[in-house]
Symmetry: C2
Subunit: 236 residues, 2 copies
Protein backbone atom coordinates (compact mmCIF):
# COMPACT_ATOMS: atom_id res chain seq x y z
CA UNK A 1 0.00 0.00 0.00
CA UNK A 2 1.18 3.53 -0.77
CA UNK A 3 0.45 6.04 1.96
CA UNK A 4 0.55 9.85 2.02
CA UNK A 5 0.62 11.52 5.43
CA UNK A 6 -0.14 15.24 5.32
CA UNK A 7 0.89 16.76 8.64
CA UNK A 8 0.24 20.32 9.79
CA UNK A 9 1.36 21.44 13.25
CA UNK A 10 3.44 24.54 14.08
CA UNK A 11 5.38 22.80 16.89
CA UNK A 12 7.73 20.00 15.73
CA UNK A 13 7.81 18.45 19.23
CA UNK A 14 4.01 18.37 19.60
CA UNK A 15 2.01 15.28 20.50
CA UNK A 16 0.36 15.74 17.11
CA UNK A 17 3.81 15.27 15.52
CA UNK A 18 4.16 12.07 17.57
CA UNK A 19 0.94 10.79 15.99
CA UNK A 20 2.44 11.54 12.58
CA UNK A 21 5.72 9.78 13.41
CA UNK A 22 3.81 6.80 14.81
CA UNK A 23 1.80 6.52 11.59
CA UNK A 24 4.94 6.66 9.47
CA UNK A 25 6.77 4.03 11.55
CA UNK A 26 3.88 1.58 11.95
CA UNK A 27 2.93 1.74 8.28
CA UNK A 28 6.53 1.46 7.04
CA UNK A 29 7.21 -1.44 9.39
CA UNK A 30 4.19 -3.20 7.90
CA UNK A 31 5.82 -2.96 4.46
CA UNK A 32 3.98 0.05 3.06
CA UNK A 33 5.56 2.89 1.10
CA UNK A 34 4.98 6.08 3.09
CA UNK A 35 5.43 9.67 1.93
CA UNK A 36 5.07 12.62 4.28
CA UNK A 37 4.11 16.21 3.51
CA UNK A 38 5.00 18.15 6.64
CA UNK A 39 3.41 21.43 5.60
CA UNK A 40 5.04 23.67 8.23
CA UNK A 41 8.48 22.16 7.61
CA UNK A 42 7.99 22.62 3.83
CA UNK A 43 6.92 26.24 4.22
CA UNK A 44 3.90 25.27 2.14
CA UNK A 45 2.07 28.20 0.52
CA UNK A 46 -1.63 27.85 1.38
CA UNK A 47 -2.98 30.76 -0.66
CA UNK A 48 -4.85 29.76 -3.82
CA UNK A 49 -4.31 32.53 -6.36
CA UNK A 50 -3.74 33.34 -10.01
CA UNK A 51 -0.01 32.94 -9.32
CA UNK A 52 -0.60 29.19 -9.25
CA UNK A 53 -0.78 29.08 -13.04
CA UNK A 54 1.89 29.69 -15.68
CA UNK A 55 -0.32 30.10 -18.73
CA UNK A 56 -3.92 31.07 -18.14
CA UNK A 57 -7.26 29.97 -19.58
CA UNK A 58 -8.35 33.57 -19.02
CA UNK A 59 -5.55 35.94 -18.11
CA UNK A 60 -8.02 38.76 -17.41
CA UNK A 61 -10.30 37.01 -14.91
CA UNK A 62 -9.35 34.13 -12.63
CA UNK A 63 -11.90 31.40 -11.99
CA UNK A 64 -9.65 29.21 -9.86
CA UNK A 65 -11.18 25.81 -10.74
CA UNK A 66 -11.14 26.59 -14.48
CA UNK A 67 -7.49 27.63 -14.28
CA UNK A 68 -6.75 24.40 -12.37
CA UNK A 69 -8.24 22.37 -15.21
CA UNK A 70 -6.35 24.39 -17.83
CA UNK A 71 -3.09 24.36 -15.88
CA UNK A 72 -3.24 20.61 -15.25
CA UNK A 73 -4.16 19.78 -18.87
CA UNK A 74 -1.32 21.97 -20.18
CA UNK A 75 1.27 21.09 -17.54
CA UNK A 76 1.58 24.75 -16.52
CA UNK A 77 0.27 24.47 -12.99
CA UNK A 78 2.86 25.50 -10.37
CA UNK A 79 5.47 22.91 -9.48
CA UNK A 80 4.68 22.79 -5.74
CA UNK A 81 1.09 21.85 -6.66
CA UNK A 82 2.27 19.26 -9.22
CA UNK A 83 4.51 17.54 -6.67
CA UNK A 84 1.78 17.30 -4.04
CA UNK A 85 -0.86 16.25 -6.58
CA UNK A 86 1.39 13.40 -7.77
CA UNK A 87 1.81 12.20 -4.19
CA UNK A 88 -1.97 12.32 -3.75
CA UNK A 89 -2.74 10.52 -7.01
CA UNK A 90 -0.33 7.66 -6.33
CA UNK A 91 -1.36 6.98 -2.72
CA UNK A 92 -3.82 4.26 -1.69
CA UNK A 93 -4.33 5.78 1.76
CA UNK A 94 -4.35 9.47 2.67
CA UNK A 95 -3.85 10.50 6.30
CA UNK A 96 -4.53 14.10 7.33
CA UNK A 97 -2.90 14.69 10.72
CA UNK A 98 -3.48 18.02 12.47
CA UNK A 99 -4.56 19.88 15.61
CA UNK A 100 -8.16 21.12 15.49
CA UNK A 101 -8.04 24.92 15.03
CA UNK A 102 -11.48 26.55 15.33
CA UNK A 103 -13.22 23.20 14.83
CA UNK A 104 -11.47 22.65 11.49
CA UNK A 105 -8.04 22.34 9.86
CA UNK A 106 -5.23 24.86 10.39
CA UNK A 107 -5.13 27.31 7.46
CA UNK A 108 -1.95 25.76 6.04
CA UNK A 109 -3.79 22.44 5.63
CA UNK A 110 -6.94 24.14 4.30
CA UNK A 111 -4.68 25.70 1.68
CA UNK A 112 -3.28 22.28 0.76
CA UNK A 113 -6.88 21.22 0.13
CA UNK A 114 -7.71 24.41 -1.80
CA UNK A 115 -4.64 24.12 -4.06
CA UNK A 116 -3.90 20.39 -4.41
CA UNK A 117 -7.40 18.99 -4.94
CA UNK A 118 -7.22 20.06 -8.57
CA UNK A 119 -10.35 20.26 -10.69
CA UNK A 120 -9.84 17.76 -13.50
CA UNK A 121 -7.90 14.81 -12.07
CA UNK A 122 -9.46 14.96 -8.59
CA UNK A 123 -13.09 15.90 -9.34
CA UNK A 124 -15.18 17.79 -11.87
CA UNK A 125 -18.59 17.77 -13.57
CA UNK A 126 -20.48 14.74 -12.26
CA UNK A 127 -17.27 13.19 -10.89
CA UNK A 128 -17.79 13.67 -7.18
CA UNK A 129 -18.82 11.68 -4.09
CA UNK A 130 -18.83 8.00 -5.10
CA UNK A 131 -17.88 9.00 -8.66
CA UNK A 132 -15.02 11.25 -7.55
CA UNK A 133 -11.57 11.03 -9.11
CA UNK A 134 -10.01 9.33 -6.07
CA UNK A 135 -12.50 6.50 -5.68
CA UNK A 136 -10.93 3.23 -4.61
CA UNK A 137 -8.56 5.00 -2.23
CA UNK A 138 -9.05 5.46 1.51
CA UNK A 139 -8.63 8.42 3.87
CA UNK A 140 -8.46 8.96 7.59
CA UNK A 141 -8.22 12.11 9.65
CA UNK A 142 -6.14 11.93 12.86
CA UNK A 143 -6.41 14.94 15.08
CA UNK A 144 -5.60 16.37 18.47
CA UNK A 145 -7.78 18.81 20.34
CA UNK A 146 -8.03 20.61 23.65
CA UNK A 147 -11.69 19.81 24.37
CA UNK A 148 -12.97 16.73 26.18
CA UNK A 149 -15.00 13.99 24.54
CA UNK A 150 -18.13 14.76 26.58
CA UNK A 151 -18.23 18.32 25.21
CA UNK A 152 -18.84 16.64 21.84
CA UNK A 153 -21.55 14.22 23.05
CA UNK A 154 -25.01 14.55 21.51
CA UNK A 155 -26.01 16.65 24.55
CA UNK A 156 -22.54 18.18 24.89
CA UNK A 157 -21.96 21.89 24.55
CA UNK A 158 -20.44 21.69 21.05
CA UNK A 159 -22.50 18.77 19.71
CA UNK A 160 -20.95 15.81 17.85
CA UNK A 161 -17.46 16.27 16.42
CA UNK A 162 -18.57 14.50 13.22
CA UNK A 163 -20.93 17.44 12.63
CA UNK A 164 -18.10 19.94 12.99
CA UNK A 165 -15.95 17.84 10.65
CA UNK A 166 -18.63 17.54 7.96
CA UNK A 167 -17.04 20.01 5.52
CA UNK A 168 -13.84 17.96 5.72
CA UNK A 169 -15.13 14.37 5.93
CA UNK A 170 -18.09 14.70 3.57
CA UNK A 171 -17.52 17.96 1.69
CA UNK A 172 -13.86 17.30 0.90
CA UNK A 173 -12.64 13.71 1.38
CA UNK A 174 -15.84 11.83 0.46
CA UNK A 175 -16.55 14.46 -2.24
CA UNK A 176 -13.42 13.50 -4.16
CA UNK A 177 -14.34 9.82 -3.98
CA UNK A 178 -12.29 8.61 -1.04
CA UNK A 179 -13.55 5.93 1.33
CA UNK A 180 -13.43 7.89 4.58
CA UNK A 181 -12.75 6.04 7.82
CA UNK A 182 -13.83 7.07 11.29
CA UNK A 183 -11.48 9.84 12.51
CA UNK A 184 -8.86 9.07 15.14
CA UNK A 185 -9.24 11.66 17.89
CA UNK A 186 -6.88 12.43 20.78
CA UNK A 187 -9.00 14.47 23.22
CA UNK A 188 -7.93 17.05 25.79
CA UNK A 189 -4.29 16.66 24.76
CA UNK A 190 -2.73 19.71 26.48
CA UNK A 191 -4.24 18.68 29.82
CA UNK A 192 -3.91 14.89 30.05
CA UNK A 193 -1.23 12.93 31.88
CA UNK A 194 1.59 11.30 29.98
CA UNK A 195 0.04 7.83 30.48
CA UNK A 196 -3.07 8.98 28.65
CA UNK A 197 -0.94 10.19 25.77
CA UNK A 198 0.77 6.81 25.65
CA UNK A 199 -2.67 5.16 25.58
CA UNK A 200 -3.60 7.36 22.63
CA UNK A 201 -0.45 6.29 20.79
CA UNK A 202 -1.20 2.62 21.51
CA UNK A 203 -4.77 3.04 20.26
CA UNK A 204 -3.49 4.80 17.14
CA UNK A 205 -1.00 1.98 16.45
CA UNK A 206 -3.92 -0.45 16.71
CA UNK A 207 -6.06 1.52 14.29
CA UNK A 208 -3.14 1.87 11.86
CA UNK A 209 -2.61 -1.86 11.65
CA UNK A 210 -6.16 -2.49 10.45
CA UNK A 211 -7.03 0.59 8.38
CA UNK A 212 -7.09 -1.41 5.15
CA UNK A 213 -9.91 -3.61 6.52
CA UNK A 214 -12.07 -1.04 8.31
CA UNK A 215 -15.53 -0.36 6.89
CA UNK A 216 -15.77 3.27 5.70
CA UNK A 217 -18.35 5.81 6.86
CA UNK A 218 -21.48 6.40 4.77
CA UNK A 219 -21.78 9.43 2.52
CA UNK A 220 -24.07 10.53 -0.32
CA UNK A 221 -24.17 8.42 -3.47
CA UNK A 222 -24.88 9.87 -6.91
CA UNK A 223 -26.90 6.70 -7.56
CA UNK A 224 -29.69 8.26 -5.47
CA UNK A 225 -29.92 11.41 -7.61
CA UNK A 226 -30.86 12.10 -11.22
CA UNK A 227 -28.69 13.92 -13.77
CA UNK A 228 -29.86 17.28 -12.43
CA UNK A 229 -29.00 16.09 -8.91
CA UNK A 230 -32.65 15.82 -7.91
CA UNK A 231 -33.35 13.02 -5.43
CA UNK A 232 -34.68 9.87 -7.12
CA UNK A 233 -36.96 8.94 -4.23
CA UNK A 234 -39.92 11.01 -5.47
CA UNK A 235 -39.48 13.96 -3.12
CA UNK A 236 -38.40 17.28 -4.57
CA UNK B 1 -22.23 51.55 14.00
CA UNK B 2 -18.65 50.46 13.29
CA UNK B 3 -18.33 47.72 10.71
CA UNK B 4 -15.44 45.46 9.72
CA UNK B 5 -15.68 43.70 6.37
CA UNK B 6 -13.17 40.88 5.92
CA UNK B 7 -13.05 39.95 2.26
CA UNK B 8 -11.19 37.01 0.71
CA UNK B 9 -11.41 36.37 -3.03
CA UNK B 10 -8.47 35.86 -5.40
CA UNK B 11 -10.15 37.74 -8.29
CA UNK B 12 -10.65 41.50 -7.71
CA UNK B 13 -13.39 41.67 -10.38
CA UNK B 14 -15.38 38.76 -8.95
CA UNK B 15 -19.06 38.91 -8.08
CA UNK B 16 -17.95 38.18 -4.54
CA UNK B 17 -15.97 41.45 -4.64
CA UNK B 18 -19.17 43.19 -5.82
CA UNK B 19 -20.92 41.89 -2.68
CA UNK B 20 -18.09 43.38 -0.61
CA UNK B 21 -18.26 46.75 -2.41
CA UNK B 22 -22.06 46.79 -2.03
CA UNK B 23 -21.74 46.18 1.70
CA UNK B 24 -19.19 48.99 2.07
CA UNK B 25 -21.27 51.48 0.06
CA UNK B 26 -24.66 50.68 1.61
CA UNK B 27 -23.31 50.73 5.16
CA UNK B 28 -21.27 53.93 4.64
CA UNK B 29 -24.23 55.68 2.99
CA UNK B 30 -26.28 54.80 6.07
CA UNK B 31 -23.78 56.68 8.22
CA UNK B 32 -21.72 53.79 9.55
CA UNK B 33 -17.94 53.72 9.86
CA UNK B 34 -16.70 50.88 7.65
CA UNK B 35 -13.25 49.30 7.61
CA UNK B 36 -12.24 46.67 5.05
CA UNK B 37 -9.63 43.93 5.32
CA UNK B 38 -9.17 42.69 1.76
CA UNK B 39 -6.95 39.73 2.60
CA UNK B 40 -5.69 38.97 -0.92
CA UNK B 41 -4.96 42.65 -1.59
CA UNK B 42 -3.12 42.90 1.75
CA UNK B 43 -1.05 39.79 1.05
CA UNK B 44 -2.25 38.58 4.45
CA UNK B 45 -0.14 35.79 5.99
CA UNK B 46 -2.53 33.00 7.01
CA UNK B 47 -0.02 30.67 8.69
CA UNK B 48 -0.21 30.62 12.50
CA UNK B 49 3.31 29.93 13.77
CA UNK B 50 5.86 30.74 16.45
CA UNK B 51 6.99 33.64 14.25
CA UNK B 52 3.82 35.46 15.35
CA UNK B 53 5.39 36.27 18.71
CA UNK B 54 8.30 38.55 19.62
CA UNK B 55 8.96 37.35 23.15
CA UNK B 56 7.75 33.91 24.07
CA UNK B 57 6.01 32.40 27.08
CA UNK B 58 7.97 29.23 26.25
CA UNK B 59 10.67 29.68 23.62
CA UNK B 60 11.31 25.94 23.48
CA UNK B 61 7.79 24.68 22.80
CA UNK B 62 5.01 26.63 21.08
CA UNK B 63 1.45 26.21 22.33
CA UNK B 64 -0.11 28.74 20.00
CA UNK B 65 -3.01 29.86 22.25
CA UNK B 66 -0.69 30.30 25.26
CA UNK B 67 1.71 32.36 23.17
CA UNK B 68 -1.24 34.47 21.96
CA UNK B 69 -2.19 35.25 25.56
CA UNK B 70 1.41 36.06 26.47
CA UNK B 71 2.04 38.08 23.31
CA UNK B 72 -1.16 40.09 23.72
CA UNK B 73 -0.57 40.78 27.42
CA UNK B 74 3.01 41.90 26.76
CA UNK B 75 2.37 43.78 23.53
CA UNK B 76 4.79 41.53 21.65
CA UNK B 77 2.35 39.87 19.28
CA UNK B 78 3.14 40.59 15.61
CA UNK B 79 2.01 43.94 14.27
CA UNK B 80 -0.15 42.54 11.45
CA UNK B 81 -2.12 40.62 14.09
CA UNK B 82 -2.38 43.68 16.36
CA UNK B 83 -3.79 45.83 13.55
CA UNK B 84 -6.46 43.28 12.60
CA UNK B 85 -7.32 42.52 16.22
CA UNK B 86 -7.89 46.23 16.90
CA UNK B 87 -10.23 46.43 13.91
CA UNK B 88 -12.10 43.41 15.22
CA UNK B 89 -12.34 44.69 18.80
CA UNK B 90 -13.69 48.10 17.80
CA UNK B 91 -16.33 46.88 15.31
CA UNK B 92 -20.01 46.43 16.20
CA UNK B 93 -20.67 44.32 13.12
CA UNK B 94 -18.31 41.83 11.47
CA UNK B 95 -18.95 40.72 7.89
CA UNK B 96 -17.01 37.77 6.47
CA UNK B 97 -17.34 37.86 2.67
CA UNK B 98 -15.90 34.98 0.65
CA UNK B 99 -16.43 32.28 -1.98
CA UNK B 100 -17.12 28.82 -0.53
CA UNK B 101 -13.98 26.70 -1.10
CA UNK B 102 -14.49 23.05 -0.15
CA UNK B 103 -17.61 23.87 1.86
CA UNK B 104 -15.69 26.34 4.04
CA UNK B 105 -13.58 29.50 3.95
CA UNK B 106 -10.60 29.97 1.63
CA UNK B 107 -7.35 29.24 3.52
CA UNK B 108 -6.39 32.92 3.64
CA UNK B 109 -9.58 33.65 5.62
CA UNK B 110 -9.16 30.55 7.80
CA UNK B 111 -5.73 31.93 8.64
CA UNK B 112 -7.24 35.29 9.60
CA UNK B 113 -9.43 33.34 12.03
CA UNK B 114 -6.51 31.23 13.33
CA UNK B 115 -4.27 34.27 13.94
CA UNK B 116 -6.59 37.19 14.77
CA UNK B 117 -9.04 35.50 17.15
CA UNK B 118 -6.49 35.85 19.93
CA UNK B 119 -6.85 33.85 23.13
CA UNK B 120 -7.22 36.43 25.89
CA UNK B 121 -9.18 39.35 24.48
CA UNK B 122 -11.38 37.27 22.17
CA UNK B 123 -12.03 34.13 24.25
CA UNK B 124 -10.42 31.97 26.93
CA UNK B 125 -11.25 29.81 29.95
CA UNK B 126 -15.03 29.92 30.38
CA UNK B 127 -15.34 32.99 28.13
CA UNK B 128 -16.90 31.41 25.05
CA UNK B 129 -20.29 31.12 23.35
CA UNK B 130 -22.64 33.59 25.08
CA UNK B 131 -19.81 34.53 27.48
CA UNK B 132 -17.27 35.08 24.68
CA UNK B 133 -15.12 38.18 24.50
CA UNK B 134 -17.07 39.68 21.59
CA UNK B 135 -20.57 39.42 23.05
CA UNK B 136 -22.77 42.38 22.19
CA UNK B 137 -21.42 42.53 18.63
CA UNK B 138 -23.00 40.97 15.56
CA UNK B 139 -21.64 38.95 12.64
CA UNK B 140 -22.86 37.87 9.24
CA UNK B 141 -21.30 35.65 6.62
CA UNK B 142 -21.93 36.58 2.97
CA UNK B 143 -20.80 34.02 0.47
CA UNK B 144 -20.87 32.95 -3.13
CA UNK B 145 -20.90 29.38 -4.34
CA UNK B 146 -21.17 27.31 -7.49
CA UNK B 147 -23.83 24.87 -6.26
CA UNK B 148 -27.57 25.34 -6.50
CA UNK B 149 -29.85 25.87 -3.50
CA UNK B 150 -31.64 22.55 -4.02
CA UNK B 151 -28.37 20.62 -3.62
CA UNK B 152 -28.40 21.97 -0.06
CA UNK B 153 -32.04 21.10 0.70
CA UNK B 154 -32.71 18.64 3.53
CA UNK B 155 -32.99 15.89 0.88
CA UNK B 156 -30.38 17.51 -1.37
CA UNK B 157 -27.12 15.76 -2.20
CA UNK B 158 -24.97 17.86 0.15
CA UNK B 159 -27.54 18.41 2.92
CA UNK B 160 -28.20 21.82 4.52
CA UNK B 161 -25.57 24.51 4.04
CA UNK B 162 -25.97 25.50 7.71
CA UNK B 163 -24.58 22.07 8.60
CA UNK B 164 -21.52 22.62 6.42
CA UNK B 165 -21.03 26.07 7.94
CA UNK B 166 -21.28 24.86 11.54
CA UNK B 167 -17.54 25.13 12.34
CA UNK B 168 -17.70 28.75 11.18
CA UNK B 169 -21.11 29.90 12.43
CA UNK B 170 -21.17 28.03 15.74
CA UNK B 171 -17.59 26.92 16.31
CA UNK B 172 -16.01 30.28 15.49
CA UNK B 173 -18.38 33.27 15.35
CA UNK B 174 -20.87 32.21 18.05
CA UNK B 175 -17.99 30.71 20.08
CA UNK B 176 -16.36 34.12 20.52
CA UNK B 177 -19.67 35.61 21.64
CA UNK B 178 -20.96 37.22 18.47
CA UNK B 179 -24.67 37.34 17.64
CA UNK B 180 -24.61 35.47 14.35
CA UNK B 181 -27.18 36.35 11.69
CA UNK B 182 -28.49 34.09 8.96
CA UNK B 183 -25.85 33.88 6.19
CA UNK B 184 -26.41 35.72 2.91
CA UNK B 185 -25.89 33.21 0.12
CA UNK B 186 -25.53 33.85 -3.62
CA UNK B 187 -26.06 30.42 -5.21
CA UNK B 188 -24.78 29.04 -8.52
CA UNK B 189 -22.90 32.29 -9.21
CA UNK B 190 -20.66 31.21 -12.11
CA UNK B 191 -23.67 29.91 -14.05
CA UNK B 192 -26.50 32.41 -13.51
CA UNK B 193 -27.57 35.22 -15.85
CA UNK B 194 -26.59 38.80 -15.10
CA UNK B 195 -30.18 39.61 -14.03
CA UNK B 196 -29.94 37.00 -11.29
CA UNK B 197 -26.70 38.55 -10.07
CA UNK B 198 -28.42 41.94 -9.96
CA UNK B 199 -31.23 40.36 -7.95
CA UNK B 200 -28.65 38.99 -5.50
CA UNK B 201 -27.15 42.46 -5.11
CA UNK B 202 -30.61 43.98 -4.51
CA UNK B 203 -31.41 41.30 -1.92
CA UNK B 204 -28.04 41.92 -0.23
CA UNK B 205 -28.70 45.68 -0.11
CA UNK B 206 -32.03 44.91 1.57
CA UNK B 207 -30.42 42.65 4.16
CA UNK B 208 -27.68 45.22 4.83
CA UNK B 209 -30.17 47.95 5.64
CA UNK B 210 -31.76 45.92 8.43
CA UNK B 211 -28.88 43.89 9.88
CA UNK B 212 -28.95 45.81 13.15
CA UNK B 213 -32.56 44.71 13.79
CA UNK B 214 -32.42 41.07 12.63
CA UNK B 215 -32.89 38.37 15.26
CA UNK B 216 -29.72 36.26 15.53
CA UNK B 217 -29.54 32.49 15.12
CA UNK B 218 -29.59 30.24 18.21
CA UNK B 219 -26.41 28.69 19.55
CA UNK B 220 -25.34 26.94 22.78
CA UNK B 221 -25.55 28.92 26.01
CA UNK B 222 -23.23 28.30 28.95
CA UNK B 223 -26.28 28.86 31.17
CA UNK B 224 -27.35 25.31 30.29
CA UNK B 225 -24.10 23.71 31.50
CA UNK B 226 -22.37 23.43 34.85
CA UNK B 227 -18.81 24.55 35.62
CA UNK B 228 -17.43 21.30 34.22
CA UNK B 229 -19.52 21.85 31.08
CA UNK B 230 -21.90 19.01 31.96
CA UNK B 231 -25.48 19.62 30.82
CA UNK B 232 -27.72 20.93 33.63
CA UNK B 233 -30.80 19.07 32.41
CA UNK B 234 -30.03 15.89 34.38
CA UNK B 235 -28.70 13.81 31.54
CA UNK B 236 -25.00 12.93 31.52
Amino acid sequence: MKVLVVHAHPEPQSFCAALKTTAVNVLRDAGNEVEVSDLYAMGFNPVASADDFGTRANAGYCVYALEQRHGFANGTIRSDIKVELEKLMRCDLLILNFPLFWFSTPAILKGWIDRILVSGPVYGGMRFYDRGGLRGKRAIVSLTLGGQARMFASDGIHGPLEGMLRPLLQGTLAYIGLDVLEPFVAWHVPYVANEVRLEYLAAWRNRLSSLAMEPPLSFPSLDNFDESLRPLNGRT
